[in-house]
């Protein structure tokens, strides 16, 4: 899966399913403060990522992830591993 494709899928589910304002979506946007994703939203994002990318996010692997770009890096690494 190409990086652009991952970014497009993430953007689409953030806007359509998590209802993040499309205007604030950018690689440098922080998940918590800029995108407004809280801990309950993240429980749903785990489910959505599993549906789209076929793996389960592990909290311990996400400790360094702050921005949307880093989140896509993480997904890319997991998709490549498979």
């Amino acid at each position: 899966m190409k990086r652009e494709e991952i970014e497009q899928i993430v953007k689409t589910f953030l806007v359509d399913e998590i209802e993040v304002d499309e205007a604030v979506i950018a690689p440098e946007a922080t998940l918590k403060d800029d995108l407004g994703i809280d801990s309950l939203d993240f429980v749903d994002i785990v489910v959505i990522v599993e549906r789209h990318f076929g793996f389960k996010i592990k909290a311990e692997e996400m400790t360094e992830v702050r921005t949307l770009g880093q989140f896509c890096d993480y997904i890319e690494s997991k998709v490549k591993d498979r």
Binding site: D38, L40, K56
Partner: protein, 406 residues
């Protein structure tokens, strides 16, 4: 003691999703019953159900506030939006004033079963999502409505089987009457999905008159063969009379009596004695005699046994005065946890517009119902005082007396 009035109502049901639409359905004797093809596929003994399309809340309510709402909570949200609007209660009022909530609900089967299905398939609780817990608990309706509308008063769900909605009004009435709250949102919600009714279908309690859905619910009729499950939600704003007058709220009717009892007998068998005790207590609380009641909205669900016991109880209490009686379940089906609230709402609409809704499909009385003054057709009539009955599994009984405001 405070006087308690109803200042707003909202409804989401199989006979209408606005007070006007419901009023017209009641007046015209319109049935909301249909057939659910899924239940045929799943081996239900009866596929009959009240037909209620779930509302679309995306765009109306923020995602975080939506994900915890189970189906019955969505219905309750829609009904409550209308009830608060009708009562003149907006976000500003709720910000500055304490409003309580007692709401009837006794299951959230779809949410529970769907979460379990995911668990069985994925074997991982992390894949259940954030809403599953808030949708699955019995208090799902009150926990969500209190969050959405920012309610800060008394907050709890009343689970009392098919009397849940009625007891919720009774308890809201008691809290206001005693001066503990000025405004309480009361109501009842009932899911209509097939998950929620499989185990009830197992008791062979549902009508199998599948070829004639609109004629299947026939409370008190000799040819009745069971109830039809139904649902939706009904919300009523109960308020201290003086508080309502002070803020210029519309006053629709006054709740003047609440009676309750428990049969203490077999789990599914009704009791004429229990019904009579609840009704007598409600009348005593209201300070009125049976002869003063103009209309009784019967609990009668269209089951052979339940209707017979209620008819015996009604005849015992009202034999001398013979008020007009109808079961609106003939049109709505049995709205279960919601019924006690929706039927007060239906009755208040009749009181407002001076008519008694028909007990449709009442064609042939049986040995018990022949003693009652049942309205098979709409009767245009002034109603000053009405009684609404609700009885549930486990022998829980509730009766409410409502008075016209003049």
């Amino acid at each position: 003691m405070k006087r308690v009035v109803i200042t707003g109502m909202g409804i989401y049901s199989c006979i209408g999703k606005s007070l006007d639409e419901v009023r017209d359905s009641l007046h015209e004797g319109r049935s909301g019953i249909g057939v659910d093809p899924l239940r045929v596929q799943l081996g239900y003994r009866s596929p009959l159900t009240g037909v209620v399309a779930p509302p679309v809340l995306k765009g109306l309510l923020d995602r975080r506030l939506r994900v915890g709402l189970a189906e019955e909570g969505e219905y309750a949200y829609m009904a409550t939006l209308d009830a608060f609007r009708a009562a003149g209660i907006d976000a500003g009022y709720l910000e500055e004033n304490e409003v309580g909530i007692f709401y009837g609900n006794d299951s959230s089967a779809k949410a529970v079963i769907e979460a379990n299905n995911v668990l069985v398939e994925k074997k991982d609780t992390m894949l259940l999502g954030s809403g599953a817990i808030f949708q699955s608990m019995n208090s799902t309706v009150t926990m969500n409505l209190s969050t959405i509308f920012k309610l800060r008063g008394v907050n709890m769900t009343i689970s009392a089987a098919c009397a849940s909605g009625s007891h919720s009004i009774g308890l809201g009435y008691m809290f206001i009457k005693q001066g503990l709250q000025e405004v309480v949102l009361c109501g009842g919600a009932q899911e209509t999905n097939y998950y929620s009714m499989g185990s009830f279908d197992a008791l062979s309690a549902f009508s199998t008159r599948v070829g004639e859905p609109a004629r299947a619910s026939r409370p008190f009729d000799a040819g009745r063969d069971g109830l039809i499950p139904s649902g939706g939600a009904a919300s009523l704003v109960l308020e201290d009379y003086e508080h309502a007058v002070r803020r210029g709220a519309p006053i629709l009717a006054e709740v003047v009596g609440y009676g309750f009892s428990s049969n203490g007998k077999q789990i599914s068998q009704p009791s004429a004695e229990g019904c009579v005790i609840a009704m007598e207590r409600a009348l005593k609380d209201a300070g009125v005699t049976p002869a003063a009641i103009d209309y009784v909205n019967a609990h009668a669900t269209s089951t052979p046994q339940g209707d017979a016991f209620e008819a015996i109880a009604l005849d015992r209490l009202f034999g001398g005065s013979r008020p007009l009686i109808s079961s609106t379940k003939s049109m709505t089906g049995h709205e279960c946890w919601m019924a006690g609230a929706s039927e007060v709402l239906y009755s208040v609409l009749m009181m407002r517009d001076s008519f008694v809704a028909p007990n449709i499909n009442f064609e042939t009385p049986d040995e018990y119902s022949c003693k009652l003054n049942i309205a098979p057709r709409t009767v245009n009539k002034n109603i000053d005082l009405l009684l609404s009955n609700s009885f549930g599994f486990g022998g829980t009984n509730s009766a409410l007396v409502v008075k016209k405001i003049k």
